[in-house]
């Protein structure tokens, strides 16, 4: 087992001071469901780590609130708490759905939404849902705070541009309108306790005439950095979502995957499958089979 110093700050202010002091020698632990595995493996991601800063007792980071039409989630809220939140069930049902597919009950009781983002796994289940919600994250440090679109913090798999002295403290997004239709689909190697092979989150909005006015399509585990696929969204916007257009939009996701990720060993598998998952997600959101 790796050796390290351990600090348990009681406030965000104290945590930021510690991060400022220890900089890149410090790692933040919240639920520990990713970090503990890396600690045990002496993962090279942790090279140079001398200090662990435990934020799991910072109660000011444990909240799910709605202000106006903005939903704010404290960084140490667990996947299980998100799944059981009545606010999120009505404001953004795809997020609790996605969080309920993470790991197992044991993992969902410890793992946090902030930790899931900071670990930056391309297969994280909450991330595509948050991408489709256009989520922003708040980063705090002794220098101050900044709020940035969540997608902007991802550099590459398992790497973010969050500063060594910064702490991710909040995730926020606008409540979806009542007319929004959403879906989240995860494909794993087995039904239980699987890391997503691929996943996809979609949000659609239609007007009274059945014309798509808003489309957000966020696939996971297929792009170098999490993000929406506007090329596929544009196929649907301003149109009635016919089976043909849904098929076209879904295939666009495969094409964009290859454009952005290049042809990799997994491409012959992922190319048809991400299109099928996208089609299923769009159909599920629209309530057609």
């Amino acid at each position: 087992m790796m050796r390290f110093n351990y600090f348990r700050p009681a406030s965000v202010k104290e945590a930021c001071k510690l991060l400022n002091q220890h900089q890149s020698e410090a790692k933040v632990i919240a639920g520990g469901t990713d970090l503990m595995v890396q600690v045990r493996d002496e993962d090279k991601k942790l090279a140079g780590m001398k200090t662990v800063i435990d934020v799991s007792h910072i109660n000011e980071l444990r909240y799910i609130q709605e202000e106006g039409n903005v939903i704010r989630i404290g960084a140490i809220v667990t996947h299980d708490q998100i799944f059981r939140s009545p606010i999120l069930k009505s404001a953004a049902p795809l997020l609790p759905e996605a969080c309920n597919t993470v790991g197992s009950p044991q993992i969902r009781h410890r793992g946090t939404i902030g930790g899931s983002i900071c670990n930056a796994s391309p297969a994280a289940d909450p991330v595509p849902a948050l991408v489709a919600l256009n989520a922003e994250v708040k980063l705090e440090s002794v220098r101050g705070e900044r709020v940035v679109p969540m997608v902007d913090i991802f550099e590459k798999p398992y790497k973010t541009n969050i500063g060594a002295d910064e702490l991710l403290t909040e995730i926020s997004f606008k409540r979806l309108s009542d007319a929004s239709k959403t879906a989240f689909i995860k494909l794993g190697r087995r039904k239980a306790l699987a890391i997503a092979r691929m996943n996809v989150a979609v949000v659609l909005e239609l007007d009274d005439q059945g014309i798509v006015t808003e489309a957000r399509i966020a696939p996971g585990s297929v792009l170098p950095r999490p993000g929406r696929v506007s090329e596929a969204e544009e196929v649907l916007i301003g149109q009635k979502p016919t089976a043909e257009l849904i098929e076209l939009a879904s295939k666009k996701v495969s094409a964009v995957m290859i454009e952005r990720s290049g042809v990799r060993w997994s491409t012959p598998y992922k190319e048809p499958v991400i299109a099928v998952l996208t089609r299923r997600a769009l159909n599920q959101a629209l309530g057609v089979e």
Binding site: N5, Y6, T33, M36, V37, D80, Q106, H109, A192
Partner: protein
């Protein structure tokens, strides 16, 4: 700091111990308190053999630092039987033949305990979802599901 003094309640008994900050809750239970019912399986949160209840919720004790459990109430498989009388879940596991090699059983029992606290009358589907973090390589799960249903019926009668 390399060590820290923590206070925890384990199966109703209060403990105050100084532990290394890199010790897991699983190591603490097994090596400090000698409660070896909780098993070390994969050591990475995949198998569920190390499942214990922390403040009533099932967690992988191999993925939690002992220092993170400071102030918590912990419940392990040793806390199920009372004064030599088995818990209805333990009776049901025997009755239904839900134990083969037995290595997963302590973790299964803890997940099952949390499950029955949440859904006193669970469906087979709910059982399979709540036990998704516990792997059994012997039984094929059917008898475990049956045992939990049986225990839920015993609960009702009791």
């Amino acid at each position: 700091m390399k060590t820290l003094t923590i206070q925890v309640t384990v199966n109703g008994e209060a403990f105050c111990k100084t532990v290394g900050v890199n010790m897991t809750l699983l190591e603490f239970l097994r090596e400090e308190l000698h409660l070896t019912g909780t098993k070390l399986g994969c050591n990475e949160g995949e198998c569920g053999a190390c499942t214990v209840l922390v403040d009533g919720k099932p967690v992988n004790s191999c993925l939690m630092l002992a220092v993170e459990a400071d102030g918590a109430e912990i419940f392990t498989v040793e806390g199920l039987a009372k004064d030599g009388t088995l818990h209805p879940l333990q009776e049901a596991f025997i009755e239904a033949g839900a134990v083969q090699c037995g290595f997963c059983t302590p973790g299964m029992l803890m997940s099952a305990k949390a499950l029955l606290d949440k859904y006193p009358k669970p469906t087979a589907q709910q059982i399979r979802k709540e036990l998704e973090g516990n792997i059994c390589r012997c039984t094929g799960y059917d008898r475990i599901v049956k045992a939990i249903i049986l225990a839920s019926e015993m609960n009702k009668e009791g």
